[in-house]
């Protein structure tokens, strides 16, 4: 198995190679022979992230659609074999396609056309592979692809919202993986498909290192550490290596492989899937059909049941397989979430990329005390199914799991006070706590939930607690909040109530809470709009490591936002109109 064909970099095509942060001293370039690939890891990473153009895995065309081509060729060959056997034994079947072609004298042209198509598609696949190159520099990741219609896509490293490594079943057999670098926006991902499995993991580490703002010295230390960690698995055969790759949940041999903080047992997973709303609907439909059959006496109605059963079964199984072997762990470069039994995905979310969190509980999960955690992130995919998996951070977990995951994704909520507030936010009845809840007059609008319906500030996050039947708690970190609004309609106005909404990037969560006392809302609105600015100004998570480590002058200079934060640590927070903007002709009201 040859690894990435990085040797054929094309310095002539790209801009001059930039000086890389990857200058691990004393490293010799890795040899490309398979057995030593693991040992040569740091050099390999260095080579891929050196700012030069590299090619993708040689099996890429095959994985991307060459399989279909092979299948078609296979069908043709099988048919041809039948035909030739027929010719040899003089037992011609005239209904056979080859026989008919031979009789009509079109066999030779047909064979030529097939050969031409074959050659063209092989050439096409080959060139599309050759033209598909990528490079990773200090600042950006760039992919070029396409033969006739060239595409060139660049993503800035400090704008990365998440890195996703997915391994479809077939690609896994070849030891290949797809690396997706997501930046903010609809369908804004830079896709490197396919890389070798190990290459993808190394590259992710490299990209995250570069994006984190870690400078050369630290990177070198990390690289050597990684090399030491990997050396014990040096002498492994190819088959064994592949098997290991296939079985390992985390293909990451680097500094202290992260341990998943939540384990979902199989019974719990099955229980959570079975106790979903879809099951209720299915049961209702089944009752309806049984009643219809017993009333009309026609068993033909059972047929109407069939598509529903198939659909439900498919849905449940796909939900189950997606959540199997779930893992969530904290790494130095963010949270790593892994999913999947046969086709796996493995996403890394750098710190500060989570814009909103919702902890919710479907009705049927309540006796078991299970919760689900969803998130909003700035990068949105186009496919809804992939999106659902990406936005569900914890498919099912008990209260302890929820606290562990929340601590991971919102580290500022780790202290004791926040924990108490979070517990209050998730508790059943919850009265007389820090949450400002709806007044009694709001009962007409929130029949059961008015005692629960409320908001508060937990550390630096806005917390909205909603629902008595379908309970949920929405958390929006203030450093990620885009804006805040309050609104009222005629009805709310008459009742002296108002609605509050915290705007975040698009996603499954909308942080809205209604039917609250108007004065409470106005007060909270002011507080949120004031503290949000403060939180945003001290937030340096887009270069996460440079913010926490002791800031060298170089790093500070390269990080204007961090510089801002240090230059003006306390901006005037009073809502005074201090902006020297005077319209020339508008009136005051």
């Amino acid at each position: 198995m040859s690894e990435l064909n990085g040797d054929q970099s094309e310095p002539g095509q790209g801009p001059s190679p930039e000086t890389s942060a990857w200058t691990a001293p004393g490293e010799t370039p890795g040899l490309a022979s398979p057995a030593e690939n693991i040992a040569a890891l740091p050099a390999e990473v260095q080579r891929l992230a050196d700012g030069e153009w590299h090619r993708l895995h040689p099996a890429t065309p095959l994985l991307r659609g060459g399989i279909a081509l092979i299948a078609i060729i296979g069908v043709i060959i099988v048919n041809a074999r039948d035909f030739f056997i027929g010719v040899l034994f003089n037992d011609q079947n005239e209904f056979e396609p080859f026989g008919r072609l031979a009789n009509s004298g079109l066999l030779i042209p047909a064979i030529l056309i097939v050969l031409a198509v074959l050659v063209l598609s092989i050439l096409g696949f080959y060139f599309s592979w050759r033209m598909n190159t990528f490079r990773i520099t200090d600042e950006l990741v760039e992919v070029r692809s396409g033969i006739l219609f060239r595409t060139n896509r660049r993503g800035r490293l400090d704008r990365i919202q998440g890195i996703n490594i997915s391994r479809p079943l077939f690609a896994r057999l070849f030891g290949a993986a797809k690396l997706e670098v997501n930046v903010a926006g609809q369908d804004a991902n830079v896709e490197l498909a396919y890389l070798s499995s190990r290459g993808a993991d190394d590259l992710r580490l490299a990209i995250l290192q570069l994006a984190s703002g870690t400078r050369a010295a630290e990177a070198a230390a990390a690289a050597t550490a990684a090399g030491e960690g990997a050396s014990d698995s040096e002498h492994v055969g190819l088959v064994e290596k592949r098997v290991n790759e296939f079985l390992a949940p985390e293909l990451d041999p680097h500094a202290a492989p992260p341990e998943s903080i939540v384990r979902i047992s199989l019974p719990r997973l099955i229980g959570s899937v079975v106790l979903s709303e879809a099951t209720i609907i299915a049961i209702l439909v089944a009752i309806g059909i049984i009643v219809t059959i017993s009333v009309t006496g026609h068993y033909g109605w059972l047929l109407a049941f069939l598509p529903g059963v198939l659909g439900l079964g498919g849905y449940l199984v796909s939900r189950l397989t997606k959540s199997l072997r779930y893992s969530i762990a904290s790494t130095t470069d963010g949270i790593r979430v892994g999913y999947g039994l046969l086709s796996t995905t493995n996403e890394t979310l750098p710190p500060g990329r989570i814009h909103a969190v919702e902890v919710s509980q479907p009705l049927l999960w309540r006796p078991a005390g299970w919760w689900e955690i969803k998130i909003n992130t700035a990068s949105q995919g186009s496919s809804s199914s992939g999106e659902a998996a990406k936005t569900t951070l914890l498919p099912v977990g008990d209260m302890a799991d929820v606290h562990r995951v929340l601590q991971l994704i919102l580290p500022s909520l780790a202290d004791e006070k926040s924990r108490e507030l979070l517990e209050a936010g998730l508790a059943v009845g919850a009265h007389d706590d820090a949450f400002v809840t709806s007044p009694k007059r709001a009962r007409a609008l929130r029949w059961f939930a008015w005692r629960r319906n409320g908001f508060t500030m937990i550390s630096d996050a806005v917390a909205l607690r909603k629902g008595a039947i379908w309970r949920s708690l929405v958390l929006v970190p203030q450093a990620r909040m885009q804006s805040v609004s309050m609104s009222e309609g005629p009805l709310l106005r008459r009742m002296g109530l108002a609605e509050l909404r915290v705007h975040t990037v698009a996603g499954p969560i909308s942080a809205t809470i209604g039917a609250l006392d108007r004065n409470d809302v106005i007060e909270f609105f002011n507080e949120v709009s004031r503290t949000a600015v403060q939180s945003a100004s001290v937030d340096t998570s887009h270069r996460w490591r440079s913010g926490s480590a002791e800031r060298t002058p170089v790093a500070a200079a390269e990080d204007p936002a961090a510089e801002d934060a240090t230059a003006e640590p306390s901006m005037p927070q009073t809502p005074t109109p201090s902006i020297p903007f005077t319209p020339t002709s508008t009136e005051q009201i």
Partner: protein, 161 residues
């Protein structure tokens, strides 16, 4: 208890009075089109009962036009130290606060009616689609100055996404 949803001790800047004209003319044109379209069934079928639709719509538009001056006066914005606050709506009131650092881009739009009276509309776009800060009825000069001010402020308070 305050009577309305509003920010206490805030001096709102209003929009130009000319914007009332723009709104009223726009509503009249739109109302006429809607009335014409909805009166087609009454003409075609001859059933007089159908005439109730354009008449009731006409009444709604009339009320709307009469409320326009108050609605335009209800539009207000203010540049605070760190954020832009914006208010609009008479019946359905909405108040938004957007930190300057959250700005992704600023749009200035001019419709045909706006151009006729020399007004512009300024749109402040953040990463959240629901922010929806659109300040209508600004004199062209003001809109451009405000845009430049906002861009400068956003630059000085730059924050990540």
């Amino acid at each position: 208890m305050t009577e309305r949803l509003d920010l206490p001790d805030t001096e709102w800047r209003g929009v130009s009075r000319k914007y009332i004209v723009v709104e009223v003319v726009g509503l009249i044109i739109f109302g006429l089109i809607v009335a014409a379209v909805t009166s087609i069934p009454a003409f075609l079928t001859g059933i007089q009962w159908f005439a109730a639709i354009p008449i009731s719509l006409g009444v709604i538009f009339l009320i709307n036009i009469l409320l326009t001056p108050r609605r335009v006066r209800a539009i207000g914005y203010m540049l605070r130290a760190d954020d832009l606050v914006f208010r609009r709506g008479l019946m359905f009131r909405r108040v938004v606060a957007v930190p300057y650092g959250r700005m992704q881009l600023v749009d200035i739009n001019r419709g045909p009616l706006d151009r006729a009276v020399g007004l512009s509309e300024l749109k402040f776009v953040t990463a959240a689609a629901s922010t929806g800060v659109v300040i209508p009825g600004l004199p062209e000069q003001d809109a451009e100055e405000l845009r430049d001010t906002l861009v400068a402020l956003a630059e000085s308070r730059r924050a990540g996404l």
